[in-house]
C-alpha cells in the first residue's frame, strides 16, 4: 500500500510542477509586452512590407515609447492604431473594446463621392423590382431581355444560392447588369461562388502568395484562384459588371473573377485596391486585430493593392448627373447591353 501512495504522490507532484514550468504564468499584459506582441505578429505575418517600402523596425521604434507611456487603455489603443495606420491598409484594424470599437485606416476611396444611389436606379430605370428572400440581392427588369442585379455586400455565408433565384426569375434575360458599386466586400468564398453562376467552365482569375516565413520576403509560390461553375442555374450570356471606387476586398475578388470570363464587360470606375487577405489575431488583454497575410495578383501577375482594378469602359457619375438623379454608369451599361444583346 505504501508504494502505491508514494507513486500517486510522485505523479501528483510531477503533474502540478510541470504545468507552470511548461506553460508559464501566461503572457504579460503590461503595455510594452502587448505592444511587442502585436509588432512581432505583424513582423511575422504582414504581407505588404516590401511592396509598400515600410521599415517596420523603424515604425516599431518610433511608437513603442508612446505605447509604454500611454496613460490609459484608450490612449494605448490610439498609439497602436496610429502605428497600424502607417501601413495604409484597409484590411488592418484594431478592435480594443468590443464590436463598435474597431479602428482602421481610412483610404481616400472610403470617403470619395461616387454619386451613386441605388434607390435612384430602382425608381427611375427599372420596370419591376424584387429582392431575394433574405434580402441579399435586389433585382429587376431594366429593359426587355435586360435584367439588373444589385449585390451591395458579400458579407455573411451560404447565400450564394440567392443568385439561382434571380436567374430563375430572369428566364428571358439576354443580358444581365450586375451592380456591385459600394460593395465593401465580405466573404471571398461566397463572392467566388456567386461568380461561378456566370462561367461555363473553370478559369483561373488570379493568384495569391501567402506569407510563410519570418523574412518579409518569404512567400509561398503562386496559388491559383479559380472560378468554377456553381449553382443550379448559370448565365453565360453577356454580363455587364458595374464597379466603382467603393468596391473593396471580396468585391474586388468578384470583379477579378468576372474579368476572367469572356462574356463579361466591366463598366464604371476603378475599384479601391484592397487585396490583402485578412488574418485575425488576439492580444493577451483580449483585444483583437487584423492584418493582411497575402498578396493577390491579376492573371498577368500585376499587384492591384492600392491601385485597384480598372474597368473596360470608364464611366463616372458627376455632381451634375446626381442633381438630375441620373446614373450615367447604369445608362452606359444599359446602352452597351442593347448593343451586345439586341
Amino acid at each position: 500500500m505504501k508504494w502505491r501512495t508514494l507513486v500517486a504522490a510522485c505523479l501528483l507532484a510531477v503533474a502540478t510542477g510541470c504545468t507552470d514550468a511548461l506553460l508559464g504564468p501566461g503572457p504579460s499584459q503590461d503595455r510594452g509586452a502587448l505592444f511587442d506582441d502585436v509588432w512581432h505578429q505583424f513582423d511575422l505575418h504582414y504581407s505588404f512590407f516590401e511592396l509598400k517600402g515600410i521599415d517596420w523596425d523603424a515604425v516599431g521604434a518610433r511608437y513603442r515609447p508612446q505605447a509604454v507611456a500611454a496613460a490609459s487603455d484608450t490612449a494605448f489603443a490610439r498609439v497602436l492604431a496610429n502605428m497600424l495606420g502607417e501601413l495604409h491598409d484597409v484590411h488592418v484594424s484594431l478592435t480594443p473594446f468590443g464590436d463598435a470599437s474597431t479602428i482602421r485606416y481610412l483610404s481616400p476611396y472610403d470617403t470619395i463621392s461616387t454619386w451613386f444611389w441605388p434607390q435612384w436606379i430602382e425608381a427611375h430605370y427599372l420596370s419591376s423590382v424584387d429582392s431575394t428572400s433574405d434580402g441579399h440581392v435586389r433585382f429587376g427588369r431594366a429593359a426587355p431581355g435586360i435584367w439588373y442585379v444589385d449585390i451591395p455586400s458579400f458579407a455573411g455565408d451560404g447565400w450564394s444560392g440567392d443568385i439561382d433565384a434571380v436567374l430563375g426569375a430572369a428566364v428571358d434575360a439576354r443580358a444581365i447588369i450586375v451592380d456591385i458599386r459600394h460593395n465593401g466586400g465580405g466573404n471571398k468564398t461566397l463572392a467566388t461562388d456567386v461568380a461561378g453562376r456566370f462561367t461555363d467552365r473553370a478559369r483561373t482569375f488570379g493568384y495569391i502568395r501567402l506569407r510563410d516565413g519570418t523574412r518579409h520576403t518569404d512567400f509561398t509560390s503562386d496559388i491559383a484562384e479559380t472560378v468554377t461553375p456553381t449553382g443550379s442555374r448559370r448565365f453565360t450570356r453577356p454580363v455587364i459588371l458595374l464597379t466603382d471606387r467603393h468596391d473593396f476586398s471580396s468585391a474586388e475578388n468578384f470583379t477579378l473573377a468576372l474579368r476572367a470570363l469572356p462574356n463579361v464587360t466591366v463598366i464604371g470606375d476603378t475599384t479601391a485596391g484592397a487585396s490583402g487577405g485578412p488574418l485575425v489575431r488576439e492580444m493577451a488583454n483580449g483585444w483583437t486585430y487584423q492584418l493582411s497575410q497575402w498578396i493577390e495578383y491579376t492573371p498577368s501577375h500585376h499587384v492591384y493593392e492600392g491601385v485597384g482594378l480598372a474597368p473596360d469602359i470608364v464611366v463616372k457619375n458627376t455632381a451634375a448627373s446626381a442633381n438630375q438623379q441620373r446614373d450615367l454608369v447604369f445608362e452606359a451599361a444599359l446602352a452597351y447591353a442593347r448593343t451586345v444583346a439586341p
Binding site: R4, V14, T220, V280, G286
Partner: protein, 268 residues
C-alpha cells in the same frame, strides 16, 4: 514576449534512472517460447492546458474525451504495441482574460513501440525500447472579433524517442509504468489559418534542441489471468516545440477500458 523555459527535468531523471538501472541489476531471463497477444478498447477523459502561438498568445485550458484501441504482442523478451487514439477537446482562456474566444481540437495519435524486457528492478520487469509517434491535430480557434472569426490550425508530427517501462504484479493485478520521450522527428505546421488556400504539406525537421516532450503513464490491469479483464490508466503528457509559433501543452488523462487476451500464454 519572454517565455519561461520549458523543463522536463523530472521526466529526464526518470528516463536516466530507467536506462541506468538495468546495467546494475541482475539480469533475469524472461524468455517465453510462445506468443501472447491482447486487444484493448478504452474510453478516455482528458484535462489539459495549452498555448499554441499560431492561434493566440494566451494559454487555454479545458477538458476532452476520446477513445483508444490498442494491440499488444509479446514474444520472448520483446513486447510490440500499437495504440491508436482520438479525442475531442474544448478550451477557454486559462488566465481569465477578458475575451470570449474559444478553442476546440480534434486530435488523433498512432503510437508504435517495441520494448525489450531485460532486467528486474524493485520486483518489476524493466523494459527499454523505442516508440514512434504520429499525431495530427485540428485546432479551431474562435476569435472574439466583430465577426467571430473561426480559424483552423493544423499541426502534425512524426516523432521518435526512447521508451522505458516497468511492470510488476501487484494486488492481484499488474501495474505498468511507462515513460516515452520523443526527441526528434518531423512536423507539419502551416504558417497561418489552414482555411485559406495553401500549398501542399511541407514537413520540417524537429531537432532535440527544439523539442521537449514526455509521455508518462501508469496502467493497472485488474486481473492478469483469464481471457478478458478491465484496466485503468493515468497518463501525463507534456509537449513543447520551439518554432516560429511555439506550441506548449500539458495534459492529464484517465482511461478505463477492457482488454481481451489471446495466445498460448494469456495467463502469464
Amino acid at each position: 514576449m519572454p517565455m519561461p523555459k520549458p523543463t522536463v527535468t523530472p521526466m529526464a531523471a526518470c528516463l536516466c534512472a530507467a536506462l541506468a538501472l538495468p546495467a546494475t541489476m541482475r539480469a533475469q531471463s524472461l524468455v517465453h517460447a510462445s506468443r501472447e497477444q491482447s486487444l484493448s478498447l478504452a474510453t478516455t477523459f482528458t484535462a489539459g492546458d495549452r498555448v499554441d502561438a499560431s492561434a493566440s498568445p494566451l494559454p487555454y485550458g479545458g477538458t476532452g474525451f476520446g477513445g483508444a484501441a490498442s494491440y499488444q504482442s509479446s514474444v520472448g523478451q520483446f513486447l510490440f504495441s500499437v495504440t491508436a487514439d482520438g479525442s475531442r477537446s474544448f478550451y477557454v482562456p486559462r488566465t481569465g482574460a477578458p475575451t470570449s474566444a474559444r478553442e476546440s481540437a480534434f486530435a488523433s495519435r498512432l503510437e508504435t513501440s517495441l520494448v525489450r524486457q531485460s532486467a528486474t528492478v524493485v520486483g518489476g520487469r524493466v523494459g527499454l525500447g523505442l516508440a514512434v509517434l504520429s499525431s495530427a491535430e485540428l485546432l479551431e480557434h474562435q476569435y472574439a472579433d466583430v465577426t467571430s472569426t473561426r480559424a483552423a490550425y493544423i499541426t502534425a508530427f512524426g516523432l521518435v524517442g526512447p521508451l522505458t517501462t516497468w511492470t510488476r504484479d501487484a494486488a492481484g493485478g499488474r501495474a505498468r509504468l511507462s515513460l516515452d520521450v520523443p526527441v526528434a522527428g518531423v512536423v507539419y505546421q502551416p504558417y497561418g489559418d489552414a482555411r485559406v488556400e495553401r500549398e501542399g504539406p511541407r514537413l520540417r525537421g524537429v531537432t532535440p534542441s527544439q523539442l521537449r516532450a514526455a509521455d508518462a503513464a501508469l496502467r493497472y490491469d485488474f486481473a492478469v489471468r483469464g481471457a478478458a479483464g478491465l484496466f485503468s490508466e493515468y497518463r501525463l503528457r507534456g509537449f513543447a516545440l520551439k518554432n516560429v509559433e511555439p506550441i506548449r501543452s500539458l495534459s492529464h488523462s484517465l482511461t478505463v477500458g477492457i482488454v481481451e487476451r489471446f495466445g498460448a500464454q494469456r495467463d502469464r
